[in-house]
């Protein structure tokens, strides 16, 4: 019988007083101490920006610590590159897979370390047997010779795991492994992880899904504000405990959705179809209507056409067919500035790439959709004073934590950055707000704040189209729910007495409503 974790077991990897400061002055890790023992599943949890990913990047040699040291199996090491990390037996499965789509599974797994025959030709037989060995030990099923691009996400993830294992990984780091998976695939993944630790491997598991942590981890390290709050035995903490450790205070949900009679129809989408360049039918006959004073949610797993739908509605993507009726005018194919002028506001999914300009100030980011209007500009002159004044007001109203209104947006945390975007998109004159994943990847407190604001503008009579993969969020604030599955609306539900499980069935495509039930959403 081995001693319990947290005792005298062999340490697989340790961080001792690690501090990391990025060139822009962000302190991502501050005196971080953590020790992961051999054969455990060690979960690292924390809000976005708490420093989890940075710590993993340091372990894998992508970033170098500003100070502090790393020990691997008790030996002090300097890890200067992923190559060195792999040589030390550290493997990493990134959140976004690093695979060559047009190569087969086997080729991806052995990329760069292919067994050779004479005259440099690849020894495919040997390749198969090597991978087969590993796969058998873990009870994996992998179609070795199929192209990666045709494989489902769960399988791609296993390929990533095998890739690390054949390179000799003893310590496997998984960065948010479950975020792309369906509930069924998550269960399969956990089976794999259990088998890995039975084979004496060590798993470091980064996530912010606490039910999963409780389900799989031996020990849990909680990070907050670039520091480690503590490491706990799984059995010693409840989910609520972990949340409170993560955010550093008591937490309760307190958003109330008061019943409200929706107003006039503001937006009608009719028979919207979209084909991607490669011919894939991404959106199939999408029809729905949106009324003033309601939140209509579009739920679904990521990658079921949400991104394309939003981009078409906001003019960022062209070449779709069908009608988008806004006050009776068809705005299909209009430019973003026309659609904005017609009264549609947009909180984009990707705040860094689309939602702001990182190197401009908060103030300058807040007026990008109205810089040309009074009081920010006259015919010619840009009135900086008024812009700053407005920004100060917004920073207060939306609780943006920043040194001043002229701070560069780059310096803000994800949550505060999102608040800047939300502040801009909610305070313009638009009657319709399209919010695409408005709380994705930001801290609990900011998420809560943003949901409250969405509720507030709904009560004030704006129409909100909420696109979300977060079921809790959908059930918490929406009035009606459309479920999108493989580019089709498969269900239209009123948010009355439905559960996450109900929604889950539709999202996975297990269940679907009849045409008539769905039609109701258009002819309300």
């Amino acid at each position: 019988m081995l001693p319990p974790f947290g005792g005298n077991r062999m340490k697989a990897i340790e961080a001792i007083d690690i501090t990391k400061v990025y060139p822009n002055g962000v302190v991502a890790n501050k005196n971080v101490n953590i020790s992961v023992e051999q054969g455990e599943v060690h979960a690292i949890v924390g809000e976005n920006g708490a420093g989890k990913t940075t710590l993993m990047k340091i372990f894998f040699g992508i970033e170098k610590p500003t100070s502090g040291e790393i020990k691997v199996f008790g030996k002090r090491v300097h890890i200067n590159s992923p190559r060195e990390a792999i040589a030390l037996g550290i493997g990493m499965v990134h959140q976004h897979f690093m695979l060559v789509p047009s190569f087969s599974a086997a080729e991806n797994i052995m990329l760069g370390i292919e067994p050779r025959k004479r005259f440099f030709s690849v020894d495919f037989k040997k390749m198969e047997s090597i991978i087969g060995d590993y796969a058998k030990r873990l009870n994996f099923q992998i179609p070795l010779w199929e192209k990666v691009l045709d494989l489902p996400v769960g399988v791609k993830q296993r390929i990533e795991i095998l890739k690390a294992l054949v390179r000799g990984a003893k310590i496997l780091i998984l960065d948010e492994p479950s975020s792309v998976l369906t509930p069924q695939e998550v269960n399969d993944l956990f089976e794999v992880l259990k088998r890995l630790v039975q084979n004496d491997l060590t798993v470091i598991f980064i996530t912010h899904k606490l039910n999963e942590v409780k389900q799989i981890a031996n020990r849990i390290t909680v990070m907050r504000n670039a520091q480690v709050v503590g490491t706990y035995e799984n059995k010693d903490v409840t989910e609520t405990d972990i949340v409170e450790l993560m955010i550093g205070r008591k937490f309760e949900y307190d958003i109330k959705r008061e019943p409200k009679e929706p107003g006039e129809i503001l937006l009608i989408v009719k028979n919207l179809n979209y084909f991607r360049e490669d011919g894939a039918h991404i959106l199939k006959n999408i029809s729905f209507s949106l009324r003033a004073g309601e939140i209509l949610a579009i739920a679904g797993l990521e990658g079921n056409g949400q991104k394309e739908l939003v981009e078409i509605l906001t003019g960022l993507r062209e070449k779709a067919t069908g009608q988008i009726l806004l006050n009776g005018d068809d705005i299909m194919g209009s430019h973003p500035w026309e659609i904005r002028r017609a009264g549609v506001s947009h909180i984009p999914e990707d705040r860094v790439e689309v939602g702001c300009a990182l190197d401009l100030s908060i103030a300058e980011n807040l007026i990008s959709d109205r810089f040309h209007l009074n009081p920010f500009s006259t015919r010619l002159v840009y009135k900086k004073k008024h812009v700053i004044e407005f920004a100060k007001k917004m920073i207060k109203e939306f609780d943006v934590r920043a040194k001043s209104s002229t701070t560069m947006v780059r310096m803000l945390s994800g949550g505060n950055m999102q608040k800047v975007v939300v502040a801009r998109e909610m305070t313009n004159s638009a009657k319709i707000v399209i919010a695409n994943q408005p709380t994705h990847g930001i801290d609990v407190a900011s998420s809560e704040f943003i949901r409250k604001k969405l509720m507030q503008i709904r009560n004030e009579g704006k129409a909100v189209l909420l696109i979300s993969t977060d079921l809790q969020e959908v059930l918490q604030i929406s009035d009606r729910i459309l479920v999108l599955y493989k580019g089709e609306i498969v269900a239209h539900l009123r948010n009355e007495n439905i559960t996450e499980t109900d929604l889950g069935y539709y999202m996975l495509g297990v269940k679907r409503q009849s045409e008539e039930q769905i039609k109701e959403s258009v002819n309300l």
Binding site: P23, V27, P336, E353, C356, A357, H372
Partner: protein, 349 residues
């Protein structure tokens, strides 16, 4: 924090200049008979006489204007490096208007300079429209336009405007009404005032008008600009036209003030040096003024050294280039910056 970084940036600049000078000096040890004397000439040369001082200022004029032209396109993250060709074509435009327009005092000069700007922007129009309509890389097309400008202008000048009575391949002399005046006996180019005023004006345009705001937004994040409802294609188009006009004007000023004919048989190189000026100024129009003065000082200092010591002019150019290379190397001493940032960040935590 901001002040620390600014100070650091300045210190970094001083240190890099120091290192560059040191390397320059070591270089001189090998090739000059009296390295210390040569080096002193290099450092203080432009300050020793009024004539040299004005030579240095005159050299800064076209550099300032091309630096300005490039700083605004770079601000919008457009890499139109066609300032050289635009300047050349602008100079050609100035020549046409100087020789052909009615010789009304003042007005003639104004028409000549406006013509130069017009020709410059005409040259910028081609890459700009190719970019806007067909997303052609402005880097490639503007570079090609430089060659076209060079050979086309030479062909036209040498075949149709050549002054056969002059001893060299130059155009006819401009009438006096198209002269931009020079000051004092040593001929200070009064275009200097135009260049400085224009820098301030463009700085104001960039930071204090709504067009400038759009340019900065598009430069900071084009996708964000488009999403926010800015007509990014238009912004990118017009910024190139404006840049071309400034570069063209630079050519016009150079000819009307300094030469009063079309004299160039090779590209003068101001457009390429303008890239250095813009980068050194971090694309800030206000900083273009000191930046252009600095580069001009290096150039003239080296020229004076070459003239008085007999060091081969080729070596002088090599030396200049090494120094500019070092000074614009962003990463040099980056480690100190990183350390200071880390220290500062931990302190404020």
């Amino acid at each position: 924090m901001k002040r620390t970084l600014l100070l650091l940036e300045f210190t970094r600049f001083v240190i890099t200049v120091g290192i560059a000078l040191l390397i320059g000096y070591i270089f001189l040890l090998f090739i000059a008979d009296e390295p210390t004397e040569a080096f002193k000439l290099f450092l203080t040369g432009p300050m020793t006489t009024q004539r040299r001082f004005f030579e240095f200022l005159n050299n800064a004029v076209p550099l300032m204007m091309t630096g300005l032209a490039l700083s605004i396109v770079f601000q919008s993250k457009v890499f139109n490096i066609g300032a050289e060709g635009q300047l050349f074509f602008g100079a050609f435009g100035a020549m046409i208007f100087a020789l052909k327009a009615p010789q009304i005092p003042w007005l003639h000069l104004v028409i000549t300079l406006v013509g130069a700007a017009l020709f410059g922007s005409l040259w910028a129009f081609v890459p700009a429209i190719l970019k806007a309509k067909w997303k052609a890389s402005e880097l490639v097309s503007s570079l090609m336009m430089n060659y076209i400008s060079y050979f086309l202008v030479l062909f036209l000048v040498n075949n149709y405007f050549r002054d056969k009575t002059a001893g060299a391949l130059v155009s006819y002399r401009f009438p006096q009404s198209a002269w931009l005046s020079t000051l004092s006996r040593y001929r200070l180019n009064s275009g200097l005032f135009v260049a400085v005023a224009l820098s301030v004006l463009v700085g104001w345009l960039l930071y204090r008008t709504k067009w400038g705001y759009q340019i900065r937004v598009v430069g900071a994040n084009k996708k964000f600009g488009y999403y926010s409802g800015i007509k990014t294609i238009n912004v990118i188009f017009w910024v190139q036209i404006l840049s071309g006009a400034i570069a063209g004007l630079a050519g016009g000023i150079e000819l009307t003030a300094m030469y009063r004919r079309f004299v160039w048989q090779s590209l003068p190189g101001y457009g390429f040096d303008g890239i250095i000026v813009a980068i050194l100024a971090r694309n800030n129009p206000f900083l273009v003024i000191p930046s252009a003065l600095f580069i001009a000082y290096l150039r003239i200092g080296a020229n004076i050294m070459g003239r008085t010591t007999g060091i081969a002019p080729e070596i002088v150019v090599v030396l200049q280039s090494i120094m500019i290379l070092l000074i614009t190397a962003e990463a040099l001493l980056g480690r100190f910056k990183q350390k200071a940032v880390a220290k500062e960040a931990m302190k404020s935590e």
